[in-house]
Symmetry: C2
Subunit: 220 residues, 2 copies
């Protein structure tokens, strides 16, 4: 039934969702594609095309019903089901992610923090006890974790991923600054902080020196 939603659309649906939840909290009942576009930072035509992809119908002359759209997008994105998440690598970044509330809301349930360092194991971070990375395999399998966040050093990322995938993880958010290989049925997204800075460096120098004459869209 979910007839192959384009990747670009999938990447934007969460943006709409966030804007819609804000509308909902402000007791706004309907919103036009133009309004949603402004709140999400995209083009209005794209909003309409995206929403038409998932069969959600707005009302001509009026717009979209906010609560209806929230339900629809949540359902399509699978946010109406709980998902168990583990975070591997509890360095500075891992700690911040463990405490980040955007990670714990919306159906994501952090069921384990793992690190290989003896000094960290047993410590309590954000209300959870850090466990030994050696116990990762069984813990992941037992707790039914399907999503993993990799915040390990680059050198350990691939090995960690292999173990996770072998134990049932099918989606990975990779913060380690390295490319990881994974089977086709495993979804991988990477967040690469130093790469982002370097990209900014390019555009910074581009705008700085010559005539201001180039575009930049921050795509996903």
């Amino acid at each position: 039934m979910t007839r192959s939603i384009p990747e670009a659309t999938v990447a934007r649906l969460p943006l709409y969702l966030r804007a819609l939840v804000e509308c909902s909290e402000a007791d706004i009942v309907t919103i036009s594609s133009t309004g949603l576009a402004a709140a999400s930072g995209v083009n209005a035509a794209i909003v309409r095309k995206d929403l038409s992809q998932l069969g959600a119908f707005g009302t001509r002359g009026v717009g979209y019903r906010v609560v209806e759209l929230i339900d629809e997008i949540s359902s399509v994105m699978g946010l109406d089901q709980d998902r168990a998440v583990v975070i591997v690598g509890i360095g500075n970044l891992g700690r911040a992610l463990a405490a980040y509330d955007g990670f714990t809301r919306r159906g994501f349930d952090v069921v384990g923090l793992f690190d290989a360092a003896d000094a960290l194991v047993g410590q309590t971070i954000a209300g959870m006890v850090v466990e030994d990375a050696a116990d990762l395999d069984t813990a992941v399998a037992d707790r039914g974790a399907t999503i993993a966040v990799i915040a390990t050093p680059a050198a350990h990322a691939q090995e960690t991923v292999d173990r996770l995938v072998a134990n049932g993880v099918t989606a990975i958010l990779n913060f380690a600054p390295v490319h990881i290989d994974s089977p086709e049925h495993v979804a991988v997204r990477k967040v690469d902080l130093s790469t982002e800075l370097q990209i900014l460096s390019f555009y910074e120098q581009l705008y700085a020196s010559p005539g201001p004459d180039q575009q930049l869209a921050t795509g996903t």
Copy 2:
């Protein structure tokens, strides 16, 4: 001279750079497009097209000289010049970013940490004293910061950006979960952690239930 490098290429050059630096440290002298592709997780044809964009010439039958390519990419990305960076919002994430070494290497010089909370101002994080966000404007201007990292709550992000831009910042890395408006000459990249998780949720459920029959490429 920099003849408009496609955005997609710019986003990949840092990946090549990282792989090349690793080769360099392993004393590898030349690398083929196939090798570089494998290390970066992209297609070999794309590597060649990307590199041809910046006029870097490989040697047919041999490949690319590693050190030469590192210099070329560094130069194109503007990584051979120092850039002053400020981090605004020293919560869990801001703290992690301040300590993250990927942020402090490669010509990026963190020249200020700012937060609005009295409890934080004056504290030392990663060897730097947190300053009052009220002093942001003059500090940014005085220290010549051109890149800013936004790790504030969503509600303060836009206001912060406006002040930064008014004082000379032309590139922004936004971690706040909100869309920010900025003038055309300002480059903005966003890193949206909860959005990434939601995207993974979609593909996780896609692979889980029906036949495994869909693609996913983690583009930037």
